[in-house]
Structure formats: structure tokens, C-alpha cells
Symmetry: D2
Subunit: 331 residues, 4 copies
Amino acid sequence: MKTRLAILGAGRIGQVHARAIASNDSAELAAVYDPVEAAVQSVVNRFGGNPASIDEIAQDRSIDAVILCTPTDLHADQIELFAKNGKAIFCEKPIDLDAARVRACLDVVTKTNTNLMVGFNRRFDPHFMALKAAIDNGQIGTPEMGVIISRDPAAPPADYIKRSGGIFRDMMIHDIDMAVFLMGSLPESIMANGSVLTDPDIANLGDFDSASAILSWKDGRQVTISNSRRAVYGYDQRIEVHGSDGMVQAHNERPVNIEIANQTGYQTAPLHDFFMTRYVAAYANEIDAFISMITGDKPDIPTGQDGLNALVIADCAVQSAERGEAVKIPL
Amino acid sequence: MKTRLAILGAGRIGQVHARAIASNDSAELAAVYDPVEAAVQSVVNRFGGNPASIDEIAQDRSIDAVILCTPTDLHADQIELFAKNGKAIFCEKPIDLDAARVRACLDVVTKTNTNLMVGFNRRFDPHFMALKAAIDNGQIGTPEMGVIISRDPAAPPADYIKRSGGIFRDMMIHDIDMAVFLMGSLPESIMANGSVLTDPDIANLGDFDSASAILSWKDGRQVTISNSRRAVYGYDQRIEVHGSDGMVQAHNERPVNIEIANQTGYQTAPLHDFFMTRYVAAYANEIDAFISMITGDKPDIPTGQDGLNALVIADCAVQSAERGEAVKIPL
Amino acid sequence: MKTRLAILGAGRIGQVHARAIASNDSAELAAVYDPVEAAVQSVVNRFGGNPASIDEIAQDRSIDAVILCTPTDLHADQIELFAKNGKAIFCEKPIDLDAARVRACLDVVTKTNTNLMVGFNRRFDPHFMALKAAIDNGQIGTPEMGVIISRDPAAPPADYIKRSGGIFRDMMIHDIDMAVFLMGSLPESIMANGSVLTDPDIANLGDFDSASAILSWKDGRQVTISNSRRAVYGYDQRIEVHGSDGMVQAHNERPVNIEIANQTGYQTAPLHDFFMTRYVAAYANEIDAFISMITGDKPDIPTGQDGLNALVIADCAVQSAERGEAVKIPL
Amino acid sequence: MKTRLAILGAGRIGQVHARAIASNDSAELAAVYDPVEAAVQSVVNRFGGNPASIDEIAQDRSIDAVILCTPTDLHADQIELFAKNGKAIFCEKPIDLDAARVRACLDVVTKTNTNLMVGFNRRFDPHFMALKAAIDNGQIGTPEMGVIISRDPAAPPADYIKRSGGIFRDMMIHDIDMAVFLMGSLPESIMANGSVLTDPDIANLGDFDSASAILSWKDGRQVTISNSRRAVYGYDQRIEVHGSDGMVQAHNERPVNIEIANQTGYQTAPLHDFFMTRYVAAYANEIDAFISMITGDKPDIPTGQDGLNALVIADCAVQSAERGEAVKIPL
């Protein structure tokens, strides 16, 4: 018997997940919901399943799990709905931009004993997985100092920024989650700084486009993060962790491995220009992990609590940048 | 209407092609043939289609094309059969180890006006495609000198070697095809050298495990090739082309991009250990090109003549290695 | 007429500078002072000049300039002495660990119109010079975000640490100077964090061995710094600057460019294990620049004010790490 | 007592060697000869020694050794002269373009028991030395297949080419010597190919500008060489040796380690544009080895026989390219 999944939200990321389900030998796409009918039909034609309403999906006992690719402000309500209907749930991050709302939602998840996975896709990137494995295998001794550099090709549209929660909750939150994931425990405090360097309109929206942070752990470990919303050479995503016996670095993934030499020197291609091409393997791996969890395996997945942790730390980053002081993390 | 394809030979490479068909939105797997029934069933279960005999496939007018993953000594007969039955044909290389037999087969292909594509998968590798595009875009000026390094992780089993036609026809033939493909015309002569360095049993089979060659073109261009059947660090595949205005190199593809530094230095992972993991994208791309050809596009594909050319040059390499002299290529 | 220089302090770094003078066609080593006579004799034998006392050097009107490689606590007095005697002065950093003492000393330098250069050798490293030139040539547009990673192979001895002023004034000060140098202006504030991760004895001395900082400029530019006193893979010194039109990185210099591949993967050698082998070219270049300044050129050199600036910022880093808040830089 | 050396030929390379002598603590420049008096004076002013005639140098018993940077057609006679006068001799390659003349000269060297070193500078390059050490330390097991790529930035002037002996004796001879040096024994035969691709004038001079070769050893080992007289991206010098347990590569040395990323991708600088900047360390190391040999050490140096071997193999390459067949090497 194949695991049967429903997808809510048939946009860009919903389609990526639909393809992953169709390629997974032990799963099938059972149902697709989206307010835009044409979007539903396109997914169904390519990857199978039937159009369905949210309620139909919730009531259909043959459906094991749902994948929520809906707008952020619907996530918490939908998690609660499907939790009460016994579905395993994969939810794109964040659960909500308000930590209190997330906590309430997670209470429901806990009470209903629901399997909830949050879409921190980078944990499933092959390069970062190899980096994590190198740490876990003791190849760098005790991890101590981390450096995370993360730059987007270009800022998202103003409409997106308005609803995003700001650079710390929308962008740095991924790096914060990676720091927690790689260090294996929660930091004690954070110092953060934000500014606007790429586009004054972002300041008008009350947000930053450039940000730095230092996370520090009780035992003295430290991770620095550097973010920019604009990198003309592509989607720049690097992590390194330094430890007592060595260091491990994840370099950027390159679309092609050719190098051209001419009178001006040696050239390699720009980086991926979009997170969805950069993280193709990560998206497929995370859905495979979700399906594997539903069937009873115990993969190491980002939970609702992981989502909450990263949000709370991002909230502290916001406060630190406002106040110009280290903020103790209430976790 | 989707293009309907049949696969003959449900082994390792047949399965790869079946997956490519299943992932192509404009194609579907119609039929699968293999003398081993379980192999057929496994492919059908995962990728669709029905079990069928060779004759049933040949007679089924709803089937547009066949993919031949059968043993080499059956290729030429099967090509002729399906050519006469109006199918487009994808045939894994080589068409035959005997150039005369290939020529006779290609006569049938020509007379029946058949679309025949030969499986020189490397032409579809993203890195080598980018290298070819760089040349075609004039980024290195006129291409002049090529260097191709190609090493297998380990020699194939004795049984395979016996039927392989030898290192020049089985292994170097890929590099020869790439040289012709990248230089855009046929070389005039070849000097080659072979020896046994990795395993004396290979000498007992009358073959070499290490080989070098210099191809030279009438206008003075030169390509050197270096082959070994054993590389403990993985499947090593590099090409560079030097021209009047620069050079382009295709570096090896790495499974992961992490680097670990410790007291002994900096380490990166070994290369892919298998050609099928190394050329995942190439296999998918070549089937996509084949499907696109069937539907009327004119992709740049390796033809039966390309297969014959590479074989004739490989034959000349065998002679050159025997005689210790340059051999003029009769093409 | 060659420029005539005296060296005070014939230890490790004094010998490096003596060799640079001997290799400079327009300079000669005139005199050498050190309390240890054998050290003086060794330098004189290899690089020329005569033994002399401090006073003799100060009084010798044929001597144009002095190079101070003496202990830090003597620097300020000696600068004042030689300034009053009309010598050009090269002083190893820092001028003093106390900013007030530095200010007083610089007053004398100004009043006597003395040419004073401070030994921030990294500004003369060929790689960092190329990085600076790339910025100045507009190759990355407006520089905005910097990331500096700087790790020593091993912590210095306890005796050194005691007199060093601590990790911020002894080690991070180099990175602070590079940040100021590359950004081209002074930061407005700093957030810093320190901890002990490599050796508890360092905590007993009241110092840190691991430190991070975020420098921020009034216009929103930000530089993060990550320091560790222990890197088992060598002396790790990397800088990158990200700007509106691109990014420039200085990778580590490698002693040799070989790479070895075997069953465990690809290996390159560890980094330099000592700052004096890493910065061979930088030390020679800085002395050449000093000599060129004496003879009337206007090379871009680190001045006494640059030395003071870096020290004041390092002092602010100490305060920030103590108080857990951003500290405004009083410059 | 310092070793006293004389330099004959005060041109470009003579000056490089004079600097190396001046920088060697156990040697001094005693005399300089050149038909151009101003050249002699310039060297003497910068690095010491006295002007002297060839005979004066030969007769001066205080002079231990000579360094011959004179035109090639004078080398053999001068070697014989100084051998008979008991000097240790360093001679820039080649001893002569005629193997018979070299043999006669080496007879004199042998009979007079003279220490003769030939200037195959690449054996002293730090990167190639590390590559050789990796082989000798067993890091790649038994070396089996070599690939040498060697490209000059631009062809030398016509006058030089006329007297050079042609691309095989002038340029590929360096790669041949490296192949012999790295493999540790002489090859049995060579296949070579030459053509003119960069400048038709070179054909008019009866020479090639592009050449390839396969050297093969009796035990089956093979080395391929690819040469071009024109590389717009600089002086390209790479060697790799593949063995039973791995491979070692010497990558190009880069003048600076910075990388710039912008909209068109990532750029690194061109290679060195001149062999004298590329091989700075090699030139210094070879003179140090020569001086060390004079003082009784037994450094591993290229001898007169090594010079003869490379020349004889280059002669065979010329014949192979003419005849289109493998040529057995008469050594």
C-alpha cells in the first residue's frame, strides 16, 4: 500500500513537492487543493491525484498526510484542522510569524499526537547533510565556531516583504535553524545588526536588506551570520564549522563545472540564480524524509518545536538590532 | 498525444531510460521486453507500460520508438528489424564491433529513412555541453589542442572484457567521439599506445588496461587521450580544449561540495564511483533529446554515422598500437 | 646615496627586516642594536651594518631611519626619542596598549613632523593588496558587507598572552585594521563576543581564545570578524568584501599547489603554520614601502593614527564583550 | 670560507643567478664576465664580485665554480675549458644541440672528474618537488601514467626559433626531462606529432608551434605531453602522475589568490606571463643546490647525462614527427 498524500497550494513549491511524491516509489499523490482551479488541474495532469476541497481532504480517511504550501497566515489554522483529523503534516516554514500563535498551534499538535514536519529544506541539502555528517562523525572534533554566509540574488517584491516578518524572520531564520541544527543545541543569546544598503524602498517598508548576527552558546561556542538581499553573482550559500580538530566547509553548488581561461583570467559561471534550482535535491530529500516518517521510520526531521525555536531566536535578533544589545534567548 | 516508447532490455541501463521516459511529460512507456520476466515486471510496476515480445513491439503501430538496451551482438539485427517496421530507434553504443556489419546496418537505416540515435551519453552531460557551447560561442577562439583524461574506477569483469572489443573500442571510443564532437570534424590519423599495468589477467585476455593516443587533424589540430581502467579515487572524466583565444576545461563533477581541513591538510570526497551515478543528468538528457527528435525537433544527436566514425577510429587505434605507427583514418 | 637604516631589536622580526633592507637596492643597514650582543653580531654578519647603542643611533646624523622591533612597552618612548632626533620611524604594532599613551606619543610625532609608519604588515600582503585594488578599481561596486576569518595555528605562550592586551588588542586588531583599510573609513560602533574554547588556562589569564565581532558603519555597512587562537590545519586568513556589483575574496595562500587523490578522496596540504612564513612577501613589501617613503615617495602606509584607530576600536570590542552591548567608537 | 662563484653571461638569467648567490649565506659572487661591459658593471654593483675575462676566471684558483649563461653554441667549449681548470660547472640547458658534441663534452667532464650540473630548473620548483616527494613517499603507489601540459604565453622571436633546435629540443625537452625525473627511469620509445597552428612564420622557419607526444616505458608506463607556443591566459605548466594507489597533480601557481564574483561569474587572475616570474623559487633553489654540491653535499641534481638523455629523446621526437612512427630511444 502506497502512502497517500494531499497537497494544499498548487503554486511553485507545491508543484515541486508533487513531483517528489510522484517520483517516490512508496507514495502517491491523492488530492490537490488550490483556490485557483487551473493550478490544481495542471498538477493533477502531471503528477496524478484528484481535485479536492480542504474539507474533503480532511475527511478522506484514505489520505495519510497533507503538505501545506498555502499562505503563511493560514498555516496554523490548517495544522490544527488536519491534526484533529489524524493526518501527518508537512508545513512550509514558518508556522506563523507570531510565536504565541505557534505555541498554541503546537499544543494542538502535541495533544493530538500529530506527526508535524516543518520545511527547513536546507537540512536536506546533500552538501549540508555531508557537512553535518562530518561533524557527527567527529571529523572536526568538538564544533566551536561557525560562519554562515547567505545572500539572495535579489530582494523579493515589496508585497512579499510586507508580509514576510522582516529579514530576520524571513531570511536569517534559515541560517539560525542551520546554526542550531549543526551545533546540536540552542544558543543562549544573540547580537544582531541590520541596515539598508541595496534599496531605500526596503527601509520605507520598515525592513532591512543587510544583516549580521553573532549567536553565542552557554559553553562559549559562537556562530556569525552575514546576510544580504542582493548578490549579483547568484544565490550564495556557504557554511563552515570550525572545531577542536579541524574545520568543515560547504562550498557553493555550481550549476556546471567548466572553467574558461582567456586574456582576462579564469572564469567560472555564476551561482544558481534561484533558491528552487539551488535546492532541487534538498526539496526532494525532505519530502522523501516526510514520507519515510509517515511509514514509521524515525528520520531526523525539523519539528514544530524547531520551527518555534528558530522563530523565537529571530525575534530576539529583531530586538537586538533595535536596542543595540545582546538579547538572551527565552528558550 | 504522448510519444509511446518501448524498451528492449530491462537491465540496469534499461531502467535508467524507463525512469527518463516516465519523467518526460510528453512521453510514456508503452512496452517492455526482456528475456527475464521478473526484470520486465519490475520496470512495468515502477514506470508503466506492458510486457511484450520483440515481435509484438515491432508490429504495434501505436508504438513510435524503441530503445535498445540489449546485448551488443543483437543490436544490428534489431535495428534492421525496427527500421523496417517504421520505429525511431535509440541504440546503446556500439551498433556492432565490426565496422562492416555497422555499415550494412546503416544502409538499411538510410533506405528506410529511419531516425537512429546512438547512445554516446557524454554528449548530453551538462558540463560537457557547457564546454561545447563555450567553444561554439567563440569563447576560446579557434579550438586547436585537446586533452582528454578518462579513467575508470576499476576494470570490468573478464567476461565483459572478452566481448568488449578491447579498451580502444570499449572505453577510448567515448573519448574519440568527444574529440570528434568537440573539434567538429574527423581527424586524419591516430597514433596509439597500449599496455597492461593494473592486472596481468587483462593481458591474458589479449587486451590493454592503459592506453594513450594522439589524434591529428589535417589542419594541424591535435587531441591527446589518456586512459586507465583503474583509478582508486573514482571515475575520472576531464576534458580541456585549448584555442587561439583561450581554453575551456570541464572539471570532474563532485557528489558533494564539502571540504574538511585537519592536521593532514584539506580533504574533498572521492569522485563518483560509477558511470551511472556520474552521468545521471546525461542519461536523462539524451532520452529527452531522443523523444524531442521523434516529435519532429532537430536536436543535435549522435547518429549511426557518428557511431561508425568512432568505431573506425578505434579500429585504427588498435592497429596503431600493434604496429607502432600512425594510422591514416579511412573516413 | 643609499638610505641608511638602523634596526633596534635583533630577534625574529628584526632579522626579517634586516634581510629586506639588504635586498633593497636603494637602502643599506647602517646599525643594529639589541641588548643581546650575539644577536646583533649575527645580523651584522649576514646583512651588514655596525653594532651601536640606542644613543649612538639617535645621534648618528648619517642614519636616516629606524626600525623598532623592541618590546611593546618601549615603543612609545623610543618613538619620541627618535622623532626628536629627526629619524623616520617604522614601529611594529602596537605603539602602546594604552590609547592615552599613544595619543601623547603621536603629539610628539606631529610636532616634530616625523614620518611614522606602523607595522600592519597585512596591508602589504600581495593577495590583500590585490583585493584592495579590486575594490578601488570598482570591480565590486560600492563595498557593503565584509567577512573576515582569522585563525592562528595555536595560542601564544602564557607569558605572551599576559602582556598582549588580550585577544581583541593583540589578534583581532589586525582584522579591525583590515576592515578600516578596505572599507576606507572608520566604523561607528562595534558588537563583540569572546569566550574560551581551546584552553582553560587562557581564562585564568583573563583573556579569551575565541572571539567574534560585528563592526557597523554610519551608512549601514557591516563587517563580521571570526577569530580563534587554534586551527589545527594552519594559519587561516581569509577576507571577503561584498558590494553592490559583486564580491571579492582573498583565499588562503598555499605553500604548495599539489593535490593528491586516493581512496579517501582529494588532499591538499595544510596552510602555512606560522605567520612569518605566511607573510614573507608582506614583510618585504612593507619595508620597501617604508624606504620608499623616506626617499620622498608617498606610498599608502599605515600611520600612527591608523595604529591608534585600531587600538581604540579594539578597546571598544573589549567593552562590548564585557557589557553585552554595542559600543559607540569615540573616533 | 664562502664558496666563490663566477658568472659568465650577465643577461637576464645571469642576473637571476647573481641574486641567488648574493642571497646564499655560504657563497659569494667572485667574478662576472660578459662581452657587454655595462652588463657586467650592473651586476657587480648590485651583487658584488669583480669584472674578469674568461681566462682570468679559468686561471683564478680562488674561484670554485662557474655558472654558464652564455649562448648555447659556446657551452660545450666552455664546459671543457673550465673542467680542465678544475671548476665546478653549472650550465644552462642545453649543453649543445648536437648529441655527438654533448657526448664528447661529457667525456671531458668524466675524465676530469668535474661536477657538472645542467639547468633543468623545473626540478627545483617547489610544487614539482612536492609532487616528486609524494611519488617517492609512496602516496600514489607505483606511478604508471603521466600527463604533462605545457604552454608558453607566446612564441619566442624568429631569431630565437632559428637557433633553438625546434619545439621538441627547445620546449618539450623540459617536459621530457620532467617525465624521466618523475618516472625515475628512461622511456623505451616515443611517438610524437607536430603542427603549426599559431603563426605560419614558424612553419617557414621549419619548426612547429604545437606538439604532442606519448613516451612509453618498457614496463608499460606511459606519459603524454601536450605543448603549445601560445596561451593567451599565461604560462601554463601542469603535471599529473597517476599510479596504482592514487594520483598527484601539480596545479598552476597563481600570482595572487583573489577571486572576484560578478554578474558574469567568478574570475581569477591569468597565470604568470613569463617563465622567469613563474619559476622564481626554482631558480633560487637550483643555485642553492649547486652551491651545496660544491661544498660536498650530494643533492639530487640534473647531471650532464640527464641533459644528454633529454636531448636524445627530443631528437627521437623530431624523427617520430617526421616519419609518423614510434621511435626507439637509443639510450
